[in-house]
Amino acid sequence: MPTLVKRLLAALVIVLLLIAMNSYMSEAGLFGFGVPPYYARVIMLAGINIILAVSLNLITGFTGQFSIGHAGFMAVGAYSSAYLTVYYAQAWERSLGGMVGGSLAHALIFLLAILVGAIVAAVAGLIVGIPSLRLRGDYLAIVTLGFAEIIRIVILNIDKVGGATGFTVPGYTNFLWVGAFAVITIVIVYNIVHSDVGRALVSIREDELAAEAMGINTTHYKVLAFVISSALAGMAGVLFGHYTSFLSTNDFQFIRSFEIIIMIVLGGMGSLTGSVFGAIVITIMPELLRQLPGDLSRYRLVVYSALLILIMLTRPQGILGTREFGLSWLKRARRRPEGDKPVGTGGVPIAEQEPPSAIDRAKEVKNQ
């Protein structure tokens, strides 16, 4: 079958699946079966977290630029779009609804809100990225964290979006939106990583100086990855805000950024399927721990953090490392029972990261 047909078919299957899932997740259910609201909530948050983790993986996992400010861009997206939907959406929906019908007008306006959220977050990413990305490693990390906190405190002081009391937002998001944008995010990041841009990004991660010596404009690519990553985080923020229907700056504290980092490290940095996996695990784990018997459930967050440390101690490269989980992976695993050497998928040479070789260690020591 030609690739194009294959891809179109795949897209069709995904769309149909999403629509079926969406009605299954709604209150009415599908053929009389529905997901209880509590589970639906966990699934929705997992979907939003997938977008966040995959987008952060682009800048941190593939480009190797350590950002702990993702929650800030999420906040920018959430608040800018909420401003639009709260103050303008109703009027627009009324005038547009007369032309194209109510539900389509509704969808178009939410789509616009998502676009606005993504664009504003991208602009914020550009403003933050250009100066910060000159810094490296831990310095970049702390500066992105600082910017995110500043963004949060600035929003806290804008009375138009609720300030400290919070901001009530219409609940537009349903599973179809989250699912569709999670798929779109994965496709976007997958395509970037497997393009020549992606090769440039990975080369920056592997050795920035060498990449520069090979003629790669490292600043350009780093900022590009950062802006795309911010835009996607902003999109997740839009979906999050319009799902919870209430925005408070407390939702975007740096602990949130940490959570997203934990997802990608847990899943394996530089692995897209790993990010998806990590996002699902980190969303579900605290909820599962609610089931702990009796008094132990009070300690669920203690158990959660202990598990986190334990995973890092036993599997420091994350659950998937830099590998991708997929059908080809299963095939390869069968062919070579012990073959865990990460062979770059799709032609991207991905070097084994962990544990660092003696040469890397020596180089690191020398660079210090």
Binding site: Y139, A210, L301, V302, Y304, S305, P355
Partner: protein, 305 residues
Amino acid sequence: MDTFVQQLINGLTIGAIYALIALGYTMVYGILRLINFAHGDIYMVGAFVGYFLAFQLGFATGPSLVGLTVVLIGSMIAAALVGMAIERFAYRPIRKYARMTTLITAIGVSLLIENLFVARLGAAPRAFPQLLREQSYTLFGNAAISKSQILIFAVSIALMILLQWVIFKTKVGTAMRAVSFNLNSAKLMGINTDFIISFTFALGSALAAAGGVLTAQYNPQIDPLMGIITGLKAFVAAVLGGIGNVPGAVLGGLLIGIAETFVVGYGQNVGVPTTFRDAVAFAILILVLLFRPTGLLGSTVQEKV
């Protein structure tokens, strides 16, 4: 002018606390290149150990200098042990792995301590017993300095001098400097690097605990999450001064303390709301790093291929 001096005193008080905590961050970073995110929680643990010591040993009933000394030293020792335990069981096994892994582990340890304390003691703030008869002395003009502020200055200066002595005049200190210069070479020279790293954690944790008890005298309210934002700002102070640099940490801490107090005191005159208090540390940090990428006193490192 009076208010200016007053603000300066208050700023230096907070700054001295930040500096004490920042020292721990900077020492650990200098040796392991690890951002010890659990350090802010050690500060909290120090305050809580002090709280329980004061009640258990019967010092909570009234102010006493003996009580204060015992509580201060007791909580420093306890925090040192906690710091060493964290290093031994969480950080040592993963020392050879990538930075990201150690960082997530540090975040995990931080969450573990916070959640453990919230689960055991509840998140509600507790009143720390006053071990010092609070009294205010008027300086020139109307500026005043309280006894607890004097205590903070005296203890933190004493501890910083002690630290300086340990680092530059003792054998252990020489070993610490050697390890921070190059861990592997230090090991080849016969230095027991594991011991030195453990010692560094103990030292840093003790300083943070002292900061915890001192803060609790100045502002007698402690809760299990008090270490998060204070720890973060102390870390910013360490980076601001040049991470890995001991005098830099003190300088950074004092600067951030003063800047914060000035935002609260004068910000409204120029249209900056007091809530920007928590943002100003980051704003200064970003500005400084853009012009001096290794901090105020940090040395520039030539990058080699």
